[in-house]
Symmetry: C2
Subunit: 338 residues, 2 copies
């Protein structure tokens, strides 16, 4: 899609990244010149959203290959391995990260084993694979939008959570991809974006993209919500969904108000090796992210903080999974994802 | 209760008020010398919490009487009337405000009609009535604590919302009054405080008092919550409860997880002239309170904002109303409140 900003891209010997922590005040791009900087950008949430994290990590691996010293293939492959290890240690929940790193590892091994392999061919293969992952993600968003289109009535009032839009992906977004597809089809949906911490992603990011602030249960009770659609950081083999903390609460509220609750995610967010939600590692983030807002202390020092970044929504609360392989309805069958 | 800070008090020819917007960073008191300043402090949320608003308004009326020019009783009573009108226009939902103003109006009329009435006797009567309302509120908190004590098991994990503590009252708090009573009785409850906007009252205020940040549905699903207790800004004649936005969602979640949901409020928060929740006026506050956090813009300018300050929880989701007239159980009968 044409737009004047981008989430992440490779540019010469650097990875360029929109610093999402500064939105909406400032549209500032970070220029990252080594793997460590890329890893820290992921850890510190300069980039967030499961698909975007995967793409960023892939670009980081290509960058590591590009700038690896020495001139033998073994050293290059070792540098790629180290980059993958470092990047895998950034955030535990979004499975797209591990999917992207696995793709890059495989690509490196195959390129290095090819008949006429050289430093240049391996570097080119890795750069192309990272671009390919971003293109895959963009296509996934489009297909998710198509799969979700029949779910969005003409004037649907859609509630979403956190940010699962273009900022979270290399394309038009997962949950917001569906909204965008509905707009493109001439429908006039409206979007309520619930706010989330630590970085007020609902207000700052989803709103920056298109939406508005809201109070979920209140608007559901008043009949002002027709459907709920969220993204996912990881979907387990039984259909359980790990996503931004607060998602589970929305799912319970949607059920209580008899509203459909959809999860929009590409195949790369599905982890069939993880049997269920209880097996998904849930990241606990640091205290300061909730203790401070915009640099101001909002929490007394003596107060302990619980700060899980994600929660798990059981499959039985999901009305349908909107994927780039089509719409999956209960009972959840992972077959199309394999 | 002994403590080193206070929410609001009369001091000479001024009303002193803890500026709650500055907590926890700074414990700064405002010195308000006229009714208009008191009204603005209520409007701008320097003081919040239904009982505390009522007490502050009462002190504001006494201040108006104290500083009214002229030297005839009619002029003094007219100044009191104007003060009541101005203060009544500050915030529409918390009924304690109107209760306190009605008490002050009646007090003024009675004092002015007394045989030896003078400017001095009327001023003294109003000052005493305001102190009396604060003392009433303190006693109410204590009785609410006693009424709620049987509801709190030994190691109860209590979830609360926004701030219904000492900061919201002239006493030990409503919802937190119950928690304090449990502590005083030697029990060891723990408190999860959900965060709220516009001013992050959960983190900044309840935590400043005693608690910690939390994510309601997530912790309910993990079995880490035993009961939910909240305050109220107004309870209608059928038991419906207006309280800080987000309360209704918590009530639905509590029901879905089969947890008791208690509402703690003094009789002055019950409005038997309002038949049900739908008839309670719900304040919509300004855009800037959600568009800015700690002075930083977090919402793009083009984005419309819905910002109801309260929501309504239907009586059928309330396990019990914990009042200064005892514990009221369903079906709600307002008789003890009359």
């Amino acid at each position: 899609m044409a737009r004047e900003w981008f989430t992440v891209r490779a540019c010469g010997d650097a990875v360029e990244l929109l610093d999402q922590r500064r939105l909406p005040e400032e549209e500032r791009y970070l220029t990252l010149r080594d793997v460590e900087s890329v890893a820290r950008a992921i850890e510190d949430l300069a980039v967030r959203g499961a698909p975007a994290i995967g793409c960023t990590a892939a670009y980081g691996v290509a960058l590591a290959a590009h700038s690896a010293p020495g001139n033998d293939l073994a050293a290059l492959c070792a540098a790629v391995d180290r980059a993958c290890e470092r990047l895998a240690a950034t955030r535990p929940t979004a499975v797209n990260l591990f999917y992207a790193l696995e793709c890059m590892r495989t690509c490196c091994a195959e390129a290095a084993a090819a008949p006429a392999a050289s430093l240049t061919t391996v570097r080119q293969a890795l750069a192309a694979r990272a671009e390919g992952l971003a293109a895959e993600d963009e296509a996934s968003c489009r297909r998710i939008g198509e799969a979700g289109l029949p779910l969005v009535p003409e004037d649907a009032r859609i509630l979403t959570h956190c940010n699962a839009g273009a900022l979270a992906t290399a394309g038009s977004g997962t949950a917001l991809g569906v909204v965008r597809a509905a707009f493109a089809a001439g429908r006039k949906p409206s979007v309520l974006a619930c706010e989330t911490r630590p970085f007020l992603q609902g207000a700052r990011l989803t709103a920056w993209e298109l939406a508005r602030d809201g109070m979920a249960a209140h608007f559901m009770a008043r009949g002002e919500v027709d459907l709920v659609i969220v993204g996912a950081d990881r979907v387990a083999a039984n259909g359980d969904v790990a996503n931004k903390i607060g998602t589970y609460g929305l799912a319970v509220l949607a059920r209580a108000h008899r509203l459909p609750f959809y999860v929009a995610a590409p195949a790369s967010s599905f982890d069939l090796a993880t049997p269920d939600g209880a097996s998904i590692p849930i990241e606990e983030r640091g205290r300061d992210e909730v203790a401070f807002v915009a640099g101001r202390a909002v929490l007394p020092e003596a107060v302990p903080v619980r700060h899980p970044a994600f929660d798990v929504t059981p499959a039985e609360l999901v009305t349908a999974w909107v994927t780039d392989r089509g719409l999956l309805e209960p009972p959840f069958d992972p077959e199309p994802i394999r």
